[in-house]
Symmetry: C2
Subunit: 471 residues, 2 copies
C-alpha cells in the first residue's frame, strides 16, 4: 500500500502523467506472459531517463517498497508478476537507440526498445544482431537482457549474453553503475556485465546497454526434413553436430505442433509426420551449399521420408515465421498453454523427447514439443485448462518429472525463459544448496533490503526431488 506522501514523491520524480495507480493500470500490470499468475501492484511508473529511475529507486529504497522493472512482460516464468505488490516500472519510454558505432561495431540503446525494431534498424545499416527470441516483435532489449533470451539462432550465434558488452544500471540504493564498455576484452574485477544479464531484475534496473554487432552472413539456405519416426529426427540433430556442422538454426517440431502450426500458417506441411526439423545454414555461399548437402545426406541416412530446401528467402522466411508462431498456434487449442524449456546436452535430445512423451502419457496430459533442438533447448508445451484444477495438478506433476528428467540427463530446468516464480522451487535441483546460498549472497550484495523483484528466483521451499530409478 502506498501512502499519499510516497505517491506524491513518485509523481514529483517522474512527472504527474507518468505515475499511475488507477485500477485499470494496476490490473494491466498484474500479470505477464505466464498463465495463472496475477498479483496487483500498488502503482506504475514510466521513467524517461536514468536520473528518473535513480530518483524512483531512492524513494523506494527509503520506504522499502518493492520494485518490478519490466519491458513488455512477455516472459514465461512469472518473472514480472509483482508478487509482493509495490511499484511496477515500465521501461517503454526509454526506447532510444542512442548510438550505432560503425567503427567499433557496437550499438548503445535504452532498455525499452522493441527487439525487432532494433534488429531491423541494425540490419538497415548492413549489420547483424543475432539474438532473436520468438517474442521479439513485442519484447524489449531490456527484457531480453534481464532474462538472457535465446532464440532460433542461438546454436551458432549464442544468446543475449554473448552480445552485451557493457551496461548502465541503477542499484537498489539509487546509485548508478557502469560496467564494461565498447571493449572486446575487459577483466577489471568481477564480470558484473554477464552477472546482470539473466539476473531477472533482481539485482539492478538496467538503464542502458552497449551491444556487440557483427557483420551479417553473406548467404543463407533453409530446409525442412520430415520424419515418420520421432527418434530418427532427434538422432539426426546429434548426428549433424557430431559431423562438426553447426547450423544457424536447427529446430524441432513434433506431430501435434506440426498440425497446429500448419493450420495457423497454412504451409501445406505433411500432417502425418512424427517430427519435422527446420534447418538453416548461413555464411559463405560455398560453405552453405556444402553444409546443406551434408545435412541432407545425414537426414536421408536417418530415414527422413522427405527433404525440401526452400527455393528462396521468402519461402524460408515463411517457414521460420511459422516456427516462431508455434506458441501462438498451440495457444488456440485449449484455454491454457503452459510452455516450458527444459534443456539437455544436445546429444540427449532423443532421450529427452522419449521421456517427455512417457511422462505425458503417465499423467494423461497433452504435451506438444518443439524447440531449439540444436542447442538441446526443448519447449514441451502443455495445452490445458486453468479452470480444471485436477488436470492442472497433473500438468504440474508432469512438468516436475520433466525437470527431474532434464537434470538426470545432465541438463537444466531452464535454458532461456528464466527462473522467476515458476521455476524457483526447482532451482536447487540444478545448483544445489551451496549454490543457492552463494546466489542469495550475491542478491544480498546488490539488494540488501530485498526490494528488487522480491519473491523471484529463490523459493521459500524447494520442491522435493523424486529421483526415479530408470529400469
Amino acid at each position: 500500500m502506498l501512502n499519499n506522501n510516497v505517491k506524491q514523491q513518485l509523481r514529483d520524480a517522474v512527472g504527474e502523467r507518468y505515475f499511475k495507480d488507477d485500477k485499470e493500470s494496476l490490473v494491466t500490470h498484474s500479470y505477464d506472459g505466464t498463465p495463472m499468475l496475477q498479483v496487483l501492484p500498488d502503482g506504475i511508473v514510466y521513467p524517461k531517463n536514468t536520473a528518473e529511475v535513480s530518483a524512483v529507486m531512492k524513494i523506494l529504497n527509503l520506504h522499502q517498497i518493492p520494485l518490478v522493472s519490466r519491458g513488455s512482460g512477455t516472459n514465461l516464468c512469472g518473472g514480472t508478476v509483482p508478487v509482493q505488490g509495490g511499484i511496477v516500472m515500465v521501461m517503454h519510454r526509454m526506447n532510444a537507440i542512442l548510438e550505432v558505432d560503425l567503427l567499433n561495431l557496437t550499438a548503445t540503446v535504452q532498455p525499452g526498445i522493441i527487439t525487432k525494431q532494433f534488429i531491423e534498424h541494425i540490419e538497415g545499416l548492413g549489420l547483424f544482431y543475432p539474438p532473436d527470441p520468438s517474442s521479439m516483435s513485442i519484447s524489449t532489449i531490456g527484457g531480453n537482457i534481464a532474462e538472457c533470451s535465446g532464440g532460433l539462432r542461438g546454436l551458432k550465434y549464442g544468446t543475449t549474453k554473448d552480445y552485451v558488452l557493457g551496461l548502465e544500471a541503477v542499484l537498489a540504493s539509487g546509485e548508478v553503475i557502469r560496467t564494461g564498455g565498447k571493449l572486446m576484452k575487459d577483466v577489471a574485477g568481477y564480470d558484473l556485465t554477464k552477472l546482470l544479464v539473466g539476473s531477472e531484475g533482481t539485482l539492478a534496473v538496467i538503464t542502458e546497454a552497449t551491444l556487440k554487432l557483427i557483420p551479417p552472413p553473406k548467404y543463407k539456405k533453409t530446409m525442412l526434413a520430415m520424419f515418420t519416426d520421432l527418434y530418427d529426427a532427434a538422432r539426426t540433430v546429434s548426428k549433424i553436430i557430431e559431423n562438426r556442422i553447426i547450423p544457424a538454426t536447427l529446430e524441432f517440431m513434433d506431430n501435434p505442433t506440426i498440425k497446429v502450426v500448419d493450420d495457423y500458417a497454412k504451409l501445406g506441411l505433411p500432417l502425418d509426420m512424427a517430427a519435422i526439423l527446420l534447418i538453416e545454414q548461413d555464411g559463405e555461399p560455398e560453405m552453405v551449399e556444402r553444409d546443406i548437402e551434408l545435412i541432407s545426406a545425414i537426414c536421408r541416412e536417418e530415414n527422413a521420408s522427405q527433404i525440401s530446401v526452400a527455393n528462396n528467402q521468402e519461402e524460408a522466411l515463411k517457414l521460420l515465421t511459422a516456427r516462431r508462431s508455434a506458441f501462438t498456434a498451440l495457444a488456440r487449442l485449449r484455454p491454457t498453454t503452459i510452455l516450458e524449456d527444459a534443456t539437455v546436452p544436445r546429444s540427449k535430445i532423443a532421450d529427452m523427447v522419449l521421456e517427455i512423451n512417457r511422462i505425458a502419457e503417465k499423467y494423461n496430459v497433452q504435451i506438444c514439443t518443439f524447440g531449439h533442438a540444436g542447442d538441446g533447448n526443448l519447449h514441451p508445451t502443455a495445452t490445458t485448462d486453468a479452470r480444471d484444477t485436477e488436470e492442472i495438478h497433473r500438468v504440474e506433476e508432469a512438468f516436475a518429472e520433466i525437470f527431474e528428467a532434464a537434470i538426470r540427463l545432465g541438463g537444466t530446468i531452464t535454458g532461456e525463459h528464466g527462473v522467476g516464480l515458476v521455476k524457483a522451487p526447482y532451482l536447487e535441483w540444478k545448483i544445489g544448496a551451496a549454490g543457492i546460498e552463494v546466489m542469495k549472497g550475491i542478491k544480498q550484495a546488490f539488494d540488501p533490503l530485498n526490494i528488487l523483484n522480491p519473491g523471484k528466483m529463490f523459493a521459500k521451499e524447494t520442491r522435493r526431488r523424486v529421483v526415479l530409478e530408470r529400469g
Copy 2:
C-alpha cells in the same frame, strides 16, 4: 605461521609427500610472472583431486589461513603472490583431460593441464579450442580461467570466458559447487560460471571445467603489413573492422618491438619500419582469399610500404611464434620488464599509441608497444631496472598516466591480465566506488572470512586519479 597441528592436518589431507614447507619450496612459490613482487608463503600443498582440495579448504577455513591457488604462476598482475602468507595450492597434479565428448563438442578437464598440451590434444581430434594466451606453453587451463586469458585469436573467437560452459569449484567453506554443464543455454539462476571466470582465485578454487570446442577453420592465411608511420598502422586496424572484416588475428608491433623480435627469432624483418601489423584470417578458402585481398588493399590505401603474405603454414607459424615471443625478446633488453595491458575501443588504437609515446617521452622511460590491436588490447612494455628506484618511480608514474588515458578513451585498466595486486589501486577508476562496493559484496558472499587470495583485486587505497585536460 602454521602450527604443527595444522601442518599435520594438511599432511593428512594430501599425503606426506604433497605438503611442503622447506625453504626452497616456499621461495619457489613466493613470486609469479610479475616483476618486483615476492612474499613467502607458509606452506605448499599439491592436491590430487577435488576431495583433497575440499579437505584442505575445510582445514584452512577453520583456522582462517589464507589460500592462493595457482597453476604455473605466469600471470602478470601479481595475482598469485601470497601477500598474506598462508598456503599456496599448486594444481599441477590435477591435470587430466577427463573427457572429450564428440557428440556435444565439449571437453571436461582438470585445472592443472597445460593449455598447449590441451590444445594439441584437441587439435589431434580434429577440433578447435581458440583461447591461446602467449603463455600457453607453460600456463594451465585453470590459470587461464582464473584470469580470463585472451590471446592472439581473441578478436574473432573471444577469450577464455566464451569457452567455459561449466565448472566444479570448491568454496572457501570446503563445499563443492557445480555450475553450468554441457549446455549451450542455461539460465537457472545467476551465471556463476561466468562470474568465476576471471575472478582471480578470490571466490573459489576451480577443480574441473567443461569447455566448449568448435569445428576448426578449414583454411588460413597470414600476412605482414609494414608501415613507416605508426599512426597509418593504427588507422589500418580501425579501417579493417570498419569494413566489416573480422580477422582471426590482428597484431601490432612498434619499431623497438620489431627489432627485438627479429633479433630473437631471426625473421629478417625490415628494422626501419615504425610498425608492423601481423594479420591472419581463417575460415572458408574463398572468404580467406577475399579478406586477405581486401585487407591488403586497405593497407595500401593507408600507405603500407610493404605487404607480404606467408607462402605456407610453416612460414605463418614462424611469424606467429615470433609475435608470441615479444615479451621474452623484450625481456633481454634490460634487467626488468614490466608488461601492461591497457585496453581501448578498437577505434581508439591510434590515439592510445600516440598517448603511450607521449607519456613515455614525458617520463623519459623506454616503452615498447605491441599487442592485440584488433581488440584494442595493447601491451605497452617498459624495459627498466628494478634496482634503479628513481627510474622505477618514473615508470610507475608513466603507467598510471597510461591507465588514465585508457579510461579517458573509453577503455579499461586491464584487458586480459587481471587486476591482482598491481592494478588494484586503479580498479575504482574503471568501475567507480559503487561498483567496488558491489564487487566486495560478491567477494563476501563467497568468502566471508577473506581467506581466498586475500589482498588481491581490492586495494587498501585507490590511487588518486589525475585527469589531464587535453589541450
